[in-house]
């Protein structure tokens, strides 16, 4: 679905968000944190920012093979 649900702003068009990176293996070396990426066909764990809305940063789980968004959560603390 190209509609991301921002936990604060609600469902918004994808164009309002900007993808920053897919996450590497947690806890790796500083080099791994910056350069390595975990690529899986069915699950991609990513950081996005809602730049055209509340500017909040989101942790997004997606299925890159189907495009479905599995879940989003606000990084800087959750909604109420």
């Amino acid at each position: 679905m190209t509609r991301l649900v921002c936990p604060f702003c609600g469902a918004r068009e994808l164009g309002e968000f900007e993808f920053r990176k897919t996450l590497p293996e947690p806890g790796g070396t500083p080099f791994a944190q910056v350069y390595e990426r975990i690529e899986r066909p069915a699950l991609s764990v990513e950081h996005w920012q809602h730049v055209e809305g509340c500017r909040g940063w989101l942790l997004v789980h997606r299925n890159p093979s189907t495009g479905d968004v599995l879940g989003t959560e606000l990084l800087g603390g959750g909604p109420l």
Partner: protein, 167 residues
């Protein structure tokens, strides 16, 4: 809000508000903890209205409230919250250009850029980008109140003019 430059569009009026003192209160934690919950619209997109039905407190981003032209009572309330260490207050006067879009065609003009129902569903205000201009939108009696980032205000007005419903 005096009408400084009213464009009499067919069925749509876009009025610019005068430059007024505007504050942004930013809480340290989202969701804000106990002290604020009572006196504050903490729901995402919540708005509290002033006496003349004018939005005075808009929760448009996580733990971030816009206070356009706050009166003494509201200023005191915010000062108390700052003193209580709940967050910080920033005077952002000049950052947002206040505008009012009223008239029967107002919703149609905005519908050229966004799906209003989805954006304002169950909310008083929303931060979004219309015609490539970042702004905060709130529904008010007779139309919409908008706070457009000042540097975009001129082109936002031109865009509204382009999208005036024809006939």
């Amino acid at each position: 809000m005096s009408a400084v430059a009213a464009d009499a569009l067919a069925g749509v009026r876009l009025e610019r508000g005068a430059a007024v003192r505007t504050l942004e209160f930013v809480a340290f934690a989202f969701p804000p903890d106990g002290a604020l919950r009572a006196a504050w619209p903490v729901e995402p997109g919540a708005v509290s209205l002033g006496p003349d039905d004018r939005p005075t407190l808009l929760h448009f981003a996580p733990a971030r409230w816009l206070l356009p032209d706050p009166d003494e009572a509201l200023t005191a309330l915010v000062a108390a919250a700052v003193d209580a260490g709940a967050g910080t207050l920033v005077d952002v006067s000049g950052k947002w250009q206040a505008m009012q879009l009223t008239g029967p065609g107002a919703a149609r003009v905005l519908a050229s850029a966004v799906d209003l129902d989805a954006v304002l569903a169950g909310r008083g205000c929303a931060a979004l980008v219309l015609f490539d201009c970042p702004l905060v939108l709130a529904r008010v009696t007779g139309g919409f109140a908008l706070w457009v980032r000042a540097s975009y205000a001129c082109d936002f007005t031109a865009a509204v003019e382009r999208h005036r419903p024809s006939g």
